[in-house]
């Protein structure tokens, strides 16, 4: 049996070297499809025998993307385009971009001209997603993705295969939820926790689930954490920057739960399993909630964060705001208000993918840790 360190090392090596994983798939003769966040229908890609590969950008300097985007567009979208123009995705069969925020809408339009050899496939989601007419529209969006994938890769689609894929992803969801709880209980460090989530973007679902199972087994045997530091819930789009995670660690701060788009938010909802798998997938999307890019007039997300803090007995909330992410900037005010009325300390840290200096974050977190 592998040791806990070995297992975490595996996750870490994938999370920090996605390019290797990408090249390996190509060498193995797989067709890889880039999946820009969020709620990209990975199940469909998987069911068609293609490898869904997360495209959340990378921590790099922007140069080429500046020809297309003004500076006030978020660094996720900018760096996805930058990677595309630099040829880092060479060999990718297509890129699926959902249109859930204004910047994502623009990414697809620019991609067509900036990266001509990798086809752009739009996934248009409804915001009024819960009513029947919304579910119908999601299904129509999926059908379009299927047709485009067929054209780009020659792969075919069979509903029976989608049923299997849905099961595989539901299983991963369950494992992720179990791991998440265990990692909080056993005092897993923020970087290791982040690697578990991040690696999932670049691995085949079965393989990742296998590793999760190994992790669960080993974690269960560990003593519960006697954590003398502080416990927080994080919220945001991305919270995987190594500089930032180190600051958490230096200040003895453990992440016990998150409402982060790239982390647990992806794994909250399972698809039903009926005889109409495409509709099942649309129902899954309809049931998604508590997210800055999904219409929610009651702002239930803010309440969810407060509930998480209570449930995990956390000491506070750290909002990790991706610079220029307007959906999250609007939500931040509501999260702030909800925390204030529940008497929960909270801190705001702005990040972007070009960040090299973490001095400001360091200062904020030091002060925050002292306050908790």
């Amino acid at each position: 049996m592998k040791s806990l360190e070995q297992i975490f090392e595996q996750f870490h090596s994938i999370a920090t070297n996605p390019k290797d994983a990408f090249n390996r798939y190509l060498e193995e003769g797989e067709k890889v499809v880039g999946c820009v966040p969020v709620y990209t229908p990975k199940e469909i890609v998987h069911a068609m025998g293609l490898v869904p590969f997360g495209a959340w950008g990378a921590d790099l300097e922007l140069a080429e993307a500046k020809e297309y985007f003004p500076a006030f567009i978020c660094s996720i979208v900018q760096s996805v385009l930058e990677l595309g123009i630099r040829g880092e995705y060479e060999g990718m069969s297509a890129l699926i971009v959902p249109s859930l925020c204004d910047s994502l809408k623009c990414l697809g339009q620019n991609w067509k001209y900036a990266v001509k050899d990798i086809p752009f496939i739009p996934m248009t989601y409804p915001q009024n997603r819960k009513a029947d007419f919304g579910i119908d529209f999601t299904v129509a969006g999926y059908q379009r993705v299927i047709a485009d994938l067929q054209e780009a890769t020659g792969a075919t689609f069979e509903p029976e295969k989608l049923k299997e894929s849905i099961k595989a992803y539901n299983k991963q969801n369950a494992l992720m939820r179990e791991v998440d709880a265990l990692m909080a209980q056993k005092g897993v460090m923020p970087t290791q926790r982040s690697d578990v989530y991040k690696s999932a973007q670049f691995m085949k679902v079965e393989e990742h689930s296998q590793w999760l199972q190994e992790l669960i087994e080993v974690l269960k045997k560990q003593e519960d954490a006697q954590h003398d530091g502080k416990k927080v819930v994080t919220a945001g789009i991305l919270a995987d920057s190594s500089g930032l995670l180190k600051i958490f660690e230096n200040n003895q701060i453990q992440v016990v739960a998150d409402d982060v788009a790239a982390e647990s938010r992806q794994y909250r909802i399972d698809a039903p399993t009926t005889d109409d798998p495409l509709r099942d997938l649309a129902v899954k999307f309809a049931e998604m909630d508590h997210c800055c890019v999904l219409y929610d007039k009651d702002k239930k997300r803010a309440d969810l964060i407060v509930d998480m803090v209570k449930e995990k007995e956390a000491d506070g909330v750290v909002v990790v705001l991706t610079k220029f992410c307007d959906p999250d900037e609007f939500d931040y005010v509501m999260i702030k208000r909800a925390c204030e009325s529940a008497d929960i300390p909270h801190a705001l840290i702005e990040v972007d993918r070009q960040m090299k200096e973490f001095q400001q974050a360091q200062t904020i977190m030091e002060a925050f840790a002292e306050m908790l």
Binding site: Y68, P70, T124, N128
Partner: protein, 410 residues
């Protein structure tokens, strides 16, 4: 300001200018009166299908128009800062910041508007709108109706999209009936559709007059008239005012006059929302060089022409920010060619991610297709801090020089 007022001649009550100004004034006054009578009033996104509440006989105010008015009268920064103090990032659309601040302050002498009892949101111009209206709904604890019109990545509007939007349209009517107690009337709906078409036709015809040499109007006039196209499209008064405007332009062409002062040396397309806090600086920068704006997407943007209910839905699915690059580009190329545009000046609007997010590529393509020079400047529609007059001057000067060189070469 005061000095300038004194010098102004009274406006002829039969002129389009008077009629259009009155519509805007009446709009705010009637909204306040309805509120005072105890009627439920709404706040509404500029591209929400107005046929719905016109038919129901509901009064709504337009936060975007109000924010533009507040910014043009110099209070944009004050309100933006107020929103920032309550936690809103200064990267957020300044219309949203101004409005969220107004919701809080409730009294801003530059332009008041009664507080809403319900909200009508439509995201065909941006998803930012959804977030903004969600926050108002939560803060004021009032109902929000969203008609979701997704950004269309294709050239044509699909039947699936029409079906989706139509279903929401009907659901919105039901919700509004419940909220306000008003009843839907199909006959009234038809009438409203007819008036809207009449208004739109007059608007389109009037704005098309920029094709004449010289253009009978200073294109910046349109930025002011837009408020009426937004807030009163379904009213007879608006139709009549635009018809008057049309007559005036016709007459001007015959007489060879124009509201553009001075010689029209160059004709350009201005891309983007106006820089309301710096309207004078931006307008003067053009006028002083003999540059007239003869082309803007706004001219076509508010012309909602349709034959039936399906057509109406499709029209709302084709507003400028909801269409793909190719369609948006072709619409502009068409306008530029129709008006003999000689240059393109792009306002890279810090507030509007969608408007600016693929504009670099699109304006390159327009420049190529029309063989005209393209220049951009950084600005903002309502936050005065995001504009530099020096940069603007340099860019406009650069554009002028190229246009001049090209003229000489001809």
């Amino acid at each position: 300001m005061a000095k300038e007022k004194k010098a102004r001649r009274p406006v002829d009550p039969n002129s389009a200018k008077y009629k259009l100004g009155k519509i805007v004034e009446d709009h705010y006054r009637e909204l306040q009166e309805a509120k005072d009578r105890g009627e439920k009033i709404g706040w509404c996104a500029s591209n929400f299908p107005q046929e719905i509440f016109q038919t129901l006989g509901l009064k709504v105010g337009y936060p975007e128009n109000q924010a533009a008015a507040i910014a043009a009268r110099g209070a944009g920064e004050k309100l933006c800062v107020h929103a920032e103090d309550s936690g809103y990032s200064n990267d957020i659309c300044a219309y949203a910041r101004v409005n969220l601040a107004y919701m809080d302050l409730k009294d801003v002498p530059e332009q008041n508007m009664p507080q809403p009892d319900f909200l009508l949101c439509c995201n065909n111009i941006c998803n930012c709108m959804i977030k903004w209206y969600e926050n108002i709904s939560k803060e004021l604890d009032i109902p929000l109706i969203l008609i979701d019109i997704p950004f269309n990545p294709d050239y044509e509007v699909s039947d699936e999209q029409v079906a989706y939007v139509k279903a929401q349209f009907l659901a919105a009517i039901k919700q509004l009936e419940e909220i306000t107690g008003k009843k839907w009337d199909d006959e009234k709906f038809k009438e409203v559709m007819e008036i809207s078409n009449r208004t739109s036709r007059a608007w389109l015809e009037a704005t098309a007059y920029t094709k004449y040499h010289p253009s009978p109007l200073n294109g910046f006039d349109l930025l002011n008239h837009m408020a009426v196209a937004v807030c009163a499209r379904g009213t007879v008064e608006a139709a009549e005012a635009f018809e008057t405007l049309l007559e005036e332009y016709k007459q001007s062409v015959q007489d060879g006059t124009s509201t553009f002062r001075g010689e029209e040396k160059y004709r350009i397309m201005f891309e983007g929302i106006a820089c309301w806090p710096h309207l004078r600086a931006t307008a003067t920068g053009l006028k002083s060089r003999g540059i007239n704006m003869v082309a803007t997407i706004y001219a076509d943007a508010f012309g909602f022409i349709y034959d039936d209910f399906d057509g109406l839905i499709r029209a709302y699915c084709k507003v400028p920010n909801s269409i793909n690059l190719e369609k948006a580009r072709d619409m502009r190329i068409d306008i530029a060619k129709r008006t003999d545009t000689e240059g393109l000046l792009v306002h890279t609007n810090r507030s509007c991610k969608l408007w600016s997010g693929f504009m670099y590529e699109m304006s390159r393509q327009i420049g190529e297709a029309c063989d005209i020079p393209v220049t951009s400047f950084d600005g903002d529609q309502a936050d005065p801090r995001n504009f530099s007059e020096a940069q603007y001057e340099t860019r406009v000067e650069g554009l002028t020089e190229i246009m001049e060189m090209r003229k000489e070469a001809k």
